[in-house]
C-alpha cells in the first residue's frame, strides 16, 4: 500500500491520500486523465481492472470515486475526483483507457448529471431521455408533477451527444448519429424471448451479419440505490434479492458483510458456514438455469427440463430453510434469519448424490453434440485483455483466461479455509463460457461436501442493536456472485440510513460488451453470445 502511495506521490505531487479499507487518492480533475494513463500503463501499478465508478453528491461538491484493481499485483486503489460546479459539472472521461468506463460514466451522468468530456456517447443510460433532474443528487425534486407518468410512447432519438475539449480550453457539444442513415436496423427486444428480460438491442444488420449493436437498458430500472438512501440498514437488505433474482444469496452476503464490517459486528462460525453453503447452493441452481436457458436459446428445448430438475431440488431445500423459493431474504445483519431446517443435511446429501450423474447426462446430450459444438466453438471470442478492459468478471471472464474469482483473489468469509479450484479456461469463446459454468457446479458441490458434515454448533445470529447506526466512513466490499464480481459501496454519515449505497453489478459490463464481441457475427450468434454471457436484466438496471 505504501509502495503505491509513494509511486503516485512521485507521479503527481499534488495528490492527497486518505486511508481506509482501500487507499484513496484525491486528484484534481485536470490531472486525472494523465494519472489514469499512468495507473493503467505503469508496470509497477498496472491498475487494468476498473471495478466501478461511484458517482457521489457531497452537497457542496459532486464527484466520482473510481475503484481500480490490478490483476497483476492483486492490489486495490480508489481515486476520488470532484468538481465544485453544480450547475454544469464536468469531468474528464477515461473511456479511452478502460472501455467499460464509457458505460459507467453514462450511469453517473444519468444519476448525477456529471458530463464526461471525451466520452463518445453521453446519453442517459437507464432513465428516459426526457427525464427532468438527476435523481441521486441530494437536491433532486421528487414531485410527481415534474416527471408525470406518461401515456404516450417514449421519445426516441437516433442521435447522441459528445463533449469535446478544444485546444483553447472551452468544451463543445456535438451531435453524433448512432447508426448511419442507410443502416437496416432490427429492433431486438425489449419483449423478445432471447434477451432474458426486458433488454433491447438495436441491431444494424447487413443480411445476417451484425454491423453494430446499440444496447438500450433501463426498462426495469427501479431506482434501488435511491430507495436505499431512505431506508434503515436492515431494510436495505430486502432489495438485494430483487437484483439477481436467480441467485440472491451472494448479494445478501455482500451487503451483510459490508454493514457488519462497518458496525464491527463479529458473526458466529455457524452463520458463516450456513452463508457459504447457501451461496454455493444458489451457484449450482443458477448455473443449472443458465445451462437450461442457454440450450433453449440454441434451440434444444429438452435440456431446460433436465436442468430444472436439479434446480427444483435446490429450491425445495431453500424453501424448507428460508421459507421462499425465489426472494429468500435469508441472510441478515449478524447472521441468518433462522436456523437450518432439520432435513437440510439429508436433502443436501441427496442432491450431491444426483448432481454428478446429471452433469454427466448434460455433457452426453448437449456438450458433445456436433451441432452444439458448431454453434458455440469460436463464436463470440473475448480476449483476455478485452475481458479485463470491459470488466467482464465471473465465469465469462474466467473463460477468457482471467483468474478473477473473488473467492480466491480476496477470500471473504471462510473461503480461504476451503479446498476448491478456480475454473479458468483459455479459449474465450461461448463454448468455454458454457464449460466453465459446468465445471463450477462440480467445484461448488465440492465445497458443499466439505462443509455439510461439519456445520458447527452455535448461534445462527448474533445480537444486533435494534437501531443500527454506522460510524462515519466509506466501505467497498466485493463478493463472487453467480454471474461475476458483485460490489457494494457504502457511505455513512453516522445516521441510521446510508448516505449512499452504490451497487456494482456484474451484469452491466456483461451486457455492455455484447456490441464489442458480436460485430461481424450472424444474428443467430447474437443469441449464442448473449446467452453465454448470462446477464440478468434486473441486475444491470437496478
Amino acid at each position: 500500500m505504501a509502495n503505491i502511495q509513494e509511486t503516485i506521490a512521485k507521479l503527481l505531487p499534488e495528490a492527497t491520500f486518505e486511508e481506509g479499507d482501500i487507499l484513496m487518492v484525491n486528484v484534481p480533475d485536470a490531472k486525472w486523465h494523465n494519472l489514469a494513463k499512468e495507473l493503467k500503463e505503469n508496470k509497477d501499478l498496472s491498475f487494468d481492472f476498473l471495478v466501478t465508478i461511484v458517482g457521489m453528491d457531497w452537497t457542496e461538491t459532486l464527484g466520482c470515486i473510481y475503484y481500480l484493481t490490478s490483476t497483476k499485483h492483486n492490489t486495490h486503489l480508489s481515486v476520488k475526483v470532484t468538481t465544485d460546479n453544480r450547475e454544469k459539472p464536468m469531468l474528464h472521461s477515461v473511456s479511452d483507457l478502460w472501455k467499460i468506463a464509457g458505460i459507467f460514466e453514462r450511469e453517473v451522468y444519468d444519476f448525477f448529471g456529471i458530463v464526461f468530456i471525451g466520452n463518445p456517447d453521453m446519453r442517459r443510460l437507464f432513465l428516459s431521455i426526457d427525464w427532468k433532474g438527476y435523481p441521486l443528487r441530494k437536491d433532486y425534486d421528487e414531485s410527481a408533477d415534474l416527471n408525470p407518468v406518461t401515456t404516450e410512447s417514449e421519445r426516441q432519438s437516433d442521435f447522441t451527444d459528445t463533449y469535446v475539449e478544444t485546444p483553447d480550453g472551452t468544451v463543445e457539444k456535438k451531435e453524433v448519429r448512432v447508426f448511419a442513415p442507410e443502416d437496416f436496423v432490427v429492433n431486438i427486444g425489449p419483449q423478445h424471448p432471447a434477451t432474458h428480460g426486458v433488454l433491447r438491442f438495436r441491431t444494424a444488420v447487413d443480411g445476417e451479419i451484425i454491423k453494430k449493436i446499440d444496447v438500450y437498458m433501463g426498462y426495469i430500472h427501479r431506482g434501488i440505490e435511491k430507495i436505499c438512501e431512505k431506508l434503515t440498514y436492515p431494510q436495505t437488505l430486502h432489495f438485494m434479492d430483487r437484483l439477481d433474482y436467480f441467485s440472491a444469496h451472494p448479494y445478501h452476503h455482500c451487503l451483510c458483510m459490508t454493514i457488519e464490517q462497518a458496525a464491527g459486528i463479529e458473526i458466529s462460525r455457524r452463520a458463516q458456514v450456513i452463508r457459504v453453503l447457501m451461496d454455493e447452493l444458489s451457484r449450482i441452481a443458477s448455473h443449472c438455469l443458465f445451462i437450461g436457458t442457454y440450450c433453449m436459446d440454441l434451440g434444444a428445448t429438452t435440456m431446460l427440463f433436465y436442468t430444472l430438475r436439479v434446480r427444483e431440488q435446490i429450491l425445495d431445500i431453500m424453501e424448507k430453510t428460508c421459507g421462499a423459493r425465489m426472494t429468500f431474504n435469508y441472510e441478515c445483519i449478524g447472521g441468518v434469519m433462522q436456523d437450518l431446517h432439520p432435513d437440510f443435511v439429508k436433502d443436501v446429501k441427496a442432491l450431491l448424490e444426483v448432481l454428478p450423474k446429471n452433469i454427466k447426462e448434460y455433457n452426453k446430450i448437449f456438450t458433445g453434440n456436433v451441432i452444439a459444438k458448431n454453434r458455440m466453438e469460436g463464436v463470440g471470442y473475448l480476449s483476455h485483455e478485452d475481458a479485463i478492459n470491459w470488466s467482464v468478471t465471473g465465469p465469462s471472464g474466467r473463460a477468457s483466461g482471467w483468474a478473477c474469482d473473488v473467492r480466491k483473489t480476496d477470500p471473504y468469509s471462510i473461503y480461504s479455509e476451503l479446498d476448491f479450484e478456480q475454473v479458468v479456461r483459455e479459449e474465450g469463446d461461448s463454448m468455454a463460457r458454457f464449460k466453465v459454468r459446468m465445471s463450477e457446479m462440480e467445484q461448488s458441490a465440492k465445497i458443499i461436501s466439505q462443509l455439510i458434515d461439519n456445520i458447527p454448533d452455535g448461534e445462527y445470529c448474533v445480537k444486533v442493536p435494534k437501531v443500527l447506526k454506522l460510524p462515519v466512513g466509506r466501505w467497498f466490499r466485493t463478493v463472487e456472485g453467480c454471474r461475476g464480481t458483485f460490489g457494494i459501496y457504502l457511505e455513512s454519515n453516522g445516521d441510521t440510513k446510508p448516505y449512499r449505497l452504490k451497487i456494482a453489478p456484474p451484469c452491466l459490463p456483461a451486457a455492455s460488451v455484447v456490441d464489442h464481441i458480436t460485430r461481424g457475427s450472424k444474428i443467430a450468434d447474437l443469441i449464442t453470445i448473449g446467452g453465454s454471457l448470462d446477464y440478468i436484466v434486473p441486475d444491470m438496471d437496478r
Binding site: E208, A300, I371, A372, A524
Partner: protein, 358 residues
C-alpha cells in the same frame, strides 16, 4: 389383401346407375374433397397431440392429459379456440398477399395428399408421373412462406422468409436427388407401380447400401423441408420470435400450424412410399407363412403406421438437437449432402446395371 378399388368401382357404378357420367364424376370429386378435408384435419389434430405427447415423454413430463382420455381431445379444443380467434388485420401490410399466403401453404400440402398410396387401391389419382407431381406441388409451399414474410411488413418476418427461401430451395435438391435415386431403382414414377415393385421386399432392404444412404439423406432433407428442428431457422423463436408467421393470428396462423404438421406427415409418407413399401406389408422372399400373417393387417394401417413411426423419428430430432445456424445449414447441404447424393446416384445406377440388388 382387401382391394379398395372394389369399393371405389362399386361407388362409381352405383352413381352411374341413376345419373349421367359428368354428374357422377363431379359427385365423386366433391366426395373425395370432403374425405380429403376430413382426413386432413383429423390427421393434423392427431399429429399435434402426438407431438405433444412425444415431446412430453422426452422431457419427463406428462403432456396433455386433462381433456378427454389421454388428453386426446386437447387438440380439438385447441382447434376450436383457434377458429374463434380474431383475425387481426394490420396497417401497412399488403392485404391481398397477406391473406393469400396461408392458403398457398395449405394448398401445397393438400395437393401432395392426392398421390400418397393410402392403401391397396385407395388412391385419389393414379398417373404415371406421380412422384414428379408430388415434388412439383410441394414446392408451392415456399411461395406461401415468402409471401407471408414479405407482406407482413416486419423485419423479423422478412428475415425468416429469406432464410426459409434459401433453405427450401437448397434442400429441395437433396430431396429431388434422393427421390431420383429411388425412382431409378424402381424404374417408374407411377406411385402404384412403385408400391407393387416392393411386394417381395421393401426397397430399403433390396436396394441395400445406396437405398440406405438415400434414406438418411432424404430424412435430413425432409426435416429441413418441413422447417422443423434442428432446421427450424425460419421460425427460430429465440431469434426471430416466430419468423415468417409472427404477424398472423387466428385461423390464418392455424393454417401455417396445420401445414407444418401435415408436411411432416407427407415427408414421412413419401419416405414410406419410396423406402418402406408404401401400404405393402412386410414381406420377405421365401417366408410364406410370415408373409401371409402380415397380409392380415389392413393396408391402410400399414401405411399410416409406417408414416407415424417415421414421423416419430423426425420429432425425436426436434426435441434432441439444438438449432443450426444459417451458414452451417447451407454448408451442410451444398458441401456434404449434395456431393454424397450425386455419388450415391451413380452407385445406384451401377448396382442396377450390374444387378447387384436383391
Amino acid at each position: 389383401m382387401f382391394d379398395f378399388s372394389i369399393l371405389t368401382e362399386w361407388i362409381h357404378s352405383t352413381l352411374l346407375g341413376f345419373m349421367p357420367q359428368w354428374l357422377a364424376v363431379t359427385t365423386e370429386c366433391v366426395l373425395i374433397g370432403l374425405v380429403l378435408l376430413l382426413t386432413y384435419s383429423v390427421l393434423a389434430l392427431f399429429y399435434i397431440w402426438f407431438e405433444r405427447k412425444v415431446c412430453a415423454a422426452f422431457q419427463c413430463r406428462l403432456g396433455p392429459n386433462r381433456v378427454g382420455p389421454f388428453g386426446l381431445l386437447q387438440s380439438v379444443a385447441d382447434m376450436f379456440k383457434i377458429l374463434i380467434k380474431e383475425l387481426i388485420s394490420l396497417k401497412h401490410t399488403d392485404k391481398f398477399l397477406f391473406a393469400l399466403a396461408p392458403y398457398l401453404v395449405i394448398l401445397a400440402s393438400m395437393l401432395a395428399f392426392a398421390v400418397l398410396p393410402w392403401g391397396n387401391g385407395l388412391q385419389i389419382i393414379n398417373f404415371n408421373i406421380g412422384i414428379f407431381f408430388l415434388i412439383a406441388v410441394s414446392s408451392i409451399g415456399v411461395l406461401g412462406i415468402l409471401l407471408a414474410g414479405w407482406s407482413s411488413n416486419n423485419k423479423f418476418t422478412l428475415i425468416g422468409a429469406m432464410r426459409s427461401g434459401a433453405q427450401m430451395v437448397s434442400y429441395e435438391l437433396s430431396i429431388g436427388l434422393s427421390v431420383l435415386t429411388m425412382v431409378a431403382f424402381a424404374g417408374t414414377m407411377n406411385v402404384v407401380e412403385i408400391v407393387e415393385e416392393q411386394s417381395n421386399l421393401w426397397f430399403i432392404f433390396s436396394g441395400h447400401i445406396p437405398a440406405i444412404i438415400a434414406f438418411i439423406i432424404y430424412l435430413i432433407a425432409g426435416t429441413a423441408e418441413t422447417n422443423r428442428g434442428p432446421f427450424d431457422l425460419p421460425e427460430a423463436e429465440s431469434e426471430l420470435t416466430a419468423g415468417y408467421h409472427t404477424e398472423y393470428s387466428g385461423i390464418h396462423f392455424g393454417f401455417f400450424y396445420l401445414a407444418e404438421y401435415l408436411n411432416l406427415f407427407i415427408v414421412s409418407g413419401v419416405a414410406t412410399l419410396l423406402f418402406f413399401g408404401g401400404w405393402m406389408p412386410l414381406h420377405f422372399p421365401g417366408w410364406d407363412g410370415f408373409n401371409a400373417i402380415m397380409d392380415y393387417i389392413p393396408s391402410v394401417v400399414w401405411f399410416i403406421g409406417k408414416a407415424i413411426a417415421l414421423s416419430f423419428v423426425i420429432i425425436w430430432f426436434k426435441w434432441t438437437f439444438p438449432r443450426l445456424r444459417i451458414d452451417q445449414m447451407l454448408a451442410l447441404e451444398w458441401k456434404y449432402l449434395l456431393p454424397i447424393n450425386l455419388f450415391n446416384l451413380v452407385l445406384m445406377v451401377l448396382i442396377i446395371v450390374y444387378g447387384l440388388h436383391f
